[in-house]
């Protein structure tokens, strides 16, 4: 999300799967789209039928690879080397889209003189503090701009449109990526030079005024210790080639399952509030609402509206109780006081620092990193509430888990009180999904849920109602926020299910005095006269009974009329860039949105992602503020300078430019930097129960990557219990090459045990040419692939691959590294009972 957010302004996919039909080339990387997004993949299949070149770069030959023109295996964890190689190829061969670059990105902007690159400092950027293990990013700002109390004034920068200035972003970029040669790519990724050049040529020649290429990624990029920077590298490539905001271009961020995009828009995350407003932190930066707004409100660009969005959100939360006198209830919002990410709080739990946990729609006992540690952590809670369709592993950990069978945990010694609530499935409740392309789609209840099963909304609503009753009778200050919270949804049916459309109406926003819906976030105010649950969704429900998420009548090629894409039903983000600076399309073939000189308006086949009446030649006055401070040729309107950020001056924790670091566990040393092996800002969270292999490590010589199969859903809670899915992939397996099978003396179909310093998992050996050893710096490196769908319950059982994964944190989003680790593989099963524990310990701690 910050990878796209800092590059372009919004943390959402910039395009839609169906838009791939208009691509001239599609680069799929860090994604197994055919297997995990089979319905969306129809557009790739169709595009290829029409002549689009489809390239897949992935450690394994998957069902996606089978459908492409070109598959290249690469070493898991070397993605940034490959993308850096493509960036260098563009820059060295003059393949950049000059005019696009100069006008629409910060290529021409001059960077602060204090900045020093990783190439000068051997692997860290200027500002690195080895003691706090974090960056002071002030030297990453544009020249002459400082960060005082609020956000830096990035709209007033120095620039050189010839791109020749040695301190301009373009030249810094060129220097930074100069070492990412085809030879370095070959040595680090295992991709032969000529194959790399072939891909580079196909993709770059499918870009320009007449042509566009798209990049497709999923968590195969995200789940790395430098995941955000991998996505950043793709953003840089797409900006250099002029592929953003244009038909068939863009970056398609495929989300892992239904409403994952929705779960960051209206977050289930700890560090943001709905609509990407930061969660206030403990301390002076957000002591008062004024402090918080000063910190976050940009003076130029769209985020100048920040105050309107937070005040309207507080009015939605607290209603009449939010007043100017009490800072609109800002003080009632929780404050971030530490690392409350998934990784952070599970480690806290394991240390006994948490009392209770609600688990809704998740199965961390097998579905989360270092699942062994997480199961043990569950045993240290006082209480645990699990809501799911069936009694999943997270509910049953205390009596039916590998730890219990191995004698590591004893049910009679576990004090955790487990409450299991049956949940309703999506067809058993009304609701709204926000899918990959930011599209809100309503779904209606088809049948009533069986027995005591209820919707999540029912649970949260009635829990909140009861807690509020308790809070009312207990006037302690800590309860004030809960007591003030609006919780006035009406209920229907024999089970008193809340009316979900009322929640969507609250998200859309309304006028505080008469509850009339607002039609757009442009109507929101900071004076309390409007309330809005999530500003980016505003417009989805503009009038009573007019729920746009419910619409199912497509009336144009961009799918308008079906659902509602945030923001403002724009299907292709930043689509102002589909026109030249003068407002006319780059080409007839690639026209999307353009300036109508007669009507003095932007028009086209998509909703313009730009102020409708702002002419291409509009130039702001020196003291202009907000969106009016951005010129008529600045398409990235969320950014304070209106530019696409090749260079991220502010907003990232690990550097203004992407640079290659090895995964936390790697079979090689980082060839770019002698002292900096891994992302310095990433946190390994190493400990006795979360141990790591060395890099390299003779005990764990093979690269391990985990993934999903079409037949199952994530950790299998919803598919291992269904006979028609369970029978399709009934057993845990690992994919190994014939060469590795020979090395380990394993035959196809035999049982093997895969071991990391965290745990071991037994699996059937699937020996296949779809996995191949790669030559990395002259050494043959073997890779092992493991799906992570199994667990110890359900119709089909098997080892949980997450037992092998470490809890670790990428610095920006605190996600774990599941896609590139080290492991060992030994013949035979891991066994059961106390003997298995002995084997586990001996294998995990085995010395060469």
């Amino acid at each position: 999300m910050p990878g796209l957010g800092t590059s372009f302004g919004r943390g959402g996919s910039t395009t839609a799967p169906s838009e791939l039909l208009n691509s001239d080339a599609i680069l799929i990387m860090g994604s197994n789209m055919a297997e995990n997004h089979p319905v969306g993949f129809q557009w790739v299949v169709e595009a290829r039928e029409r002549g689009t070149k489809v390239i897949h770069v992935d450690p394994r030959f998957s069902r996606t690879s089978a459908m492409t023109d070109l598959w290249l295996p690469l070493r898991a964890g070397s993605d940034l080397l490959f993308l850096g190689g493509l960036i260098r190829y563009v820059l060295e061969n003059g393949r950049e889209f000059r005019e696009y670059l100069v006008h629409y990105t910060n290529a021409a902007v001059i960077v602060a003189d204090e900045f020093r690159d990783t190439e000068e400092l051997d692997g860290v950027f200027s500002g690195w503090n080895p003691e706090t293990k974090s960056y002071d990013p002030t030297s990453w700002l544009y020249r002459g701009i400082s960060e005082k109390n609020g956000p830096p004034d990035l709209a007033h920068y120095e620039s050189d449109s010839t791109l020749e200035h040695p301190r301009c972003v373009f030249q810094l970029l060129k220097k930074h990526f100069a070492r990412y040669t085809p030879e370095v790519v070959e040595a680090g990724c295992g991709i032969p030079r000529e194959m790399f050049l072939k891909v580079a040529e196909i993709f770059t020649s499918a870009s320009g005024a007449e042509r566009t290429g798209a990049v497709v990624y999923s968590v195969g990029w995200t789940q790395h210790s430098s995941g955000v920077q991998v996505i950043r590298a793709a953003a840089i490539l797409q900006m250099l080639l002029g592929n953003m905001g244009r038909p068939g271009g863009g970056i398609l961020a495929l989300r892992g399952h239904a409403s994952i995009q929705g779960s960051t828009d209206i977050p289930t995350l700890y560090d943001i509030l709905p609509g990407y407003l930061p969660m206030p932190a403990l301390g002076p930066v957000s002591r008062t609402l004024a402090d918080y707004i000063a910190r976050n409100r940009q003076s130029t660009g769209w985020w100048a509206n920040f105050d309107k969005y937070i005040v309207s959100l507080l009015r939605a939360y607290y209603g009449e109780a939010a007043t100017p006198e009490n800072d609109w209830g800002f003080g009632w919002l929780p404050r971030i006081s530490g690392d409350h990410s998934h990784q952070g709080y599970w480690l806290d739990m394991n240390e006994g620092r948490m009392e209770g946990l609600f688990v809704l729609g998740q199965n961390p006992a097998v579905g989360a990193p270092n699942a062994r540690l997480e199961r043990r952590a569950l045993s240290k809670l006082k209480w645990l509430v699990v809501r799911d369709l069936v009694e999943i592993e997270t509910t049953a950990f205390w009596y039916d888990s590998p730890e219990v069978r191995r004698g590591e945990l004893k049910p009679e010694e576990i004090g955790t009180e487990v409450f299991f609530f049956p949940a309703a499935g999506h067809a058993e409740k009304d609701g709204c999904f926000t899918n990959t392309q930011r599209l809100l789609q309503w779904h209606e209840k088809a049948v009533d849920p069986p027995g005591d099963a209820r919707s999540e909304t029912w649970f949260i609503y009635h829990l909140g109602r009861r807690l509020k009753e308790k809070a009312r009778n207990d006037p302690r200050p800590r309860n004030a926020g809960l007591a003030a919270l609006t919780w006035d949804y009406s209920v229907e049916g024999i089970h008193s299910e809340p009316r979900v459309e009322e929640i969507l109406a609250e998200i859309n926003g309304f006028r505080s005095n008469n509850r009339q819906p607002i039609a757009s976030y442009t109507e929101l105010t900071a004076d309390g006269s409007t309330a809005c649950g999530c500003w980016i969704y505003s417009g989805v429900f503009p009038a009573p009974g007019d729920n746009h998420a419910r619409e199912r009548k497509v009336h144009d090629a961009y799918g308008h009329g079906w659902g509602y894409a945030w923001p403002s039903d724009r299907r292709i983000l930043y689509n102002r860039a589909s026109a030249r600076p003068d407002g006319q399309p780059w080409s007839e073939r690639k026209k999307l949105v353009w300036w109508d000189e007669e009507a003095k308006r932007w028009t086209g086949v998509d909703v313009p992602d730009f102020a409708a009446g702002k002419a291409p030649d509009y130039r702001p006055a020196a003291d202009a503020a907000g969106d009016a401070a951005l010129a008529g040729d600045k398409p990235f309107i969320l950014h304070p300078d209106g530019l696409g950020w090749l260079w991220v001056p502010t907003g990232l924790k690990d550097g203004p430019l992407p640079t290659h670091y090895e995964p936390l566990e790697s079979p090689i040393r980082n060839q770019l930097y002698s002292t900096q092996q891994t992302n310095p800002a990433a946190e390994a969270k190493a400990g006795p129960e979360n141990a790591y292999a060395d890099s390299p490590d003779p005990r764990f010589p093979y690269v391990l990557t985990t993934y999903r199969l079409t037949e199952h859903h994530t950790a299998g809670g919803m598919s291992r219990t269904l006979p028609h899915l369970a029978e399709l992939q009934p057993e845990m397996f690992c994919e190994i090459s014939p060469a590795l099978a020979a090395e380990c003396d394993v035959r196809h179909g035999e049982w093997v045990t895969v071991v990391t310093p965290r745990g071991l998992v037994e699996a059937r050996a699937m020996v296949t040419s779809r996995v191949r050893p790669l030559r990395i710096h002259g050494k043959l490196v073997h890779q092992i692939g493991m799906p992570y769908h199994w667990g110890f319950r359900g119709l089909v059982k098997g080892g949980a691959a997450n037992d092998l994964v470490a809890i670790s944190e990428e610095p920006n989003v605190r996600i774990m590294e599941t896609k590139g680790m080290l492991c060992n593989l030994v013949r035979g099963r891991s066994g059961e009972g106390p003997a298995a524990l002995k084997r586990l310990r001996s294998l995990m701690e085995r010395r060469p």
Binding site: A34, P38, Q42, R63, A66, D69, P73, K198, T710, E727
Partner: protein
Amino acid sequence: MSVSAFLTDPTLCIGCKACEVACKEWNGLPQDGLEWTGFSYDNTRQLGASTWRHVLFLEQARPLGTQIAGGEDPFRWVFLSDVCKHCENAGCLEACPTGAIVRTEFESVFVQHDVCNGCGYCVVSCPFGVIDKRVEDGRAFKCTFCYDRQKAGLVPACAKTCPTQSIKFGTIEEMESRAQERVTELRARGYSDAHVYDARGTSVGRSHALFILLGEPEAYNFPPAPDVPTVHLRSAWTAATVAAAVGFLIVCAAFLL
């Protein structure tokens, strides 16, 4: 009533098995085995009494058209969704002694389960190994060509659910001509071993499930030259008659001598 057919095209198939699942869901078929086979991603193995669509996964050291699969060495992974062929001369139908297996107005071959007596003659008479007896039930089952859906003007569940239109459904003439056009197009695109698997010209006759295949049919468990067992009836009866006559003569001779 128009006569319909499937055209299954592995060059568009992504191996998602949605056809298998949609078939089982629509027809209420039970799960039939939770065993890992090791046959690539195919844990279904074959068509049977409770599996009426089966996606085969073929890993071959051969090129797929002009695809580059990781380097110089050729490699391809082909997915093919198999189904009952609903033959013009259907071995199962001809072998059925009770009249349980009938031809419908769609020219498909349909098993009436209330008439089936479970004799199993159909099972050995299918040249494609499609129809099978359900062990716990005793009767024979196979694809109904979604008779119920077609009767209501709907496309069969497998074709409806296929996300990439790898399973096409239409009139038999249209499917036959599209198959030929597709092969011509595929060959032009470098799929030199693409061809239509069509039983016309064999004793099976016209089939209502056409396939585009890459390479030999045997690799997909398809007989290269399918035969309906009943074509051998005349020679079988002749042989039996001759044998009986010879036996009779020998017996007579034994008395005479």
